[in-house]
């Protein structure tokens, strides 16, 4: 089981702030492909890899990073702090 967390417009478009899922994906990219098959909201949100960022266990990660040790994976748009 891994916890997925969504922020900003990703949260709004998916319609929830997070969910726990079972996955056999070993990288972020594989997980994204799996999510896109779930339903059209996911396939739309994750259609453009340039439009969002990912964090694994609260650390920024690349799309090809391993998620084998992941307990928490977050998806969010580019940050707008400051």
């Amino acid at each position: 089981m891994v916890d997925l967390i969504y922020f900003s417009w990703i949260r709004e478009r998916i319609g929830k702030s997070g969910e726990s899922i079972e996955t056999s994906a070993t990288t972020v990219l594989e997980l994204i492909e799996e999510l896109k098959k779930k339903d059209i909201r996911y396939s739309e949100v994750f259609s453009d890899l340039g439009s969002f960022r990912v964090a694994i266990n609260q650390e920024l990660a690349d799309f090809d990073a391993s998620i084998v040790e992941a307990t928490e994976i977050a998806f969010f748009p580019p940050m707008t702090g400051g």
Partner: protein, 148 residues
């Protein structure tokens, strides 16, 4: 080093006073305060800042620690708010203290550039009743290149 991620309003002149009270033998103190602008192309009703509790604090710590590695600074302060903010309210501030001005200025600008693009905050503006997520400016990510 003090880092605070908070919903509460803060008074930046009081924060600057408290920050400077603990410093010894510094020659330069730089502060930056970010404030909610009420007039852009339209009138802003208010702003809402979302963040990633847990990761936010960790990420700011990493950014501040990197600033300490890169510059000879004596101390640093970062305050960043989340939640609903009205026009004119402070959003965030950084303060840096050093023996010399160049270090204090550069460290403060470094902190700002990284907080903009690498700390998990997302701003939503409510303009004339309409909600808009603020898009990251491409110049904010390119601003990082000068530190690499």
């Amino acid at each position: 080093m003090r880092i605070s991620v908070q919903n509460e309003f803060f008074d930046f002149s009081t924060e600057i006073k408290n920050f400077s009270a603990t410093l010894e033998n510094i020659g330069a103190l730089v502060t930056f305060t970010g404030i909610v602008r009420g007039q852009k192309s339209q009138t802003l009703d208010y702003m809402v800042i979302e963040h990633y509790p847990g990761m936010t604090e960790k990420q700011i710590h990493l950014i501040v620690e990197e600033a300490f590695k890169r510059w000879k600074i004596s101390d640093a302060l970062v305050i960043h708010r989340y939640g609903k903010l009205d026009p004119g309210e402070p959003i965030m501030m950084v303060a840096t203290a050093a023996e010399h001005r160049i270090e204090a200025f550069e460290a403060a600008e470094y902190l700002m550039d990284y907080l903009k693009s690498k700390a998990p905050f997302w701003k939503k503006e409510v303009l004339n009743g309409e909600e808009n997520w603020v898009e990251s400016a491409s110049e904010d990510e390119t601003a990082l290149s000068r530190w690499q």
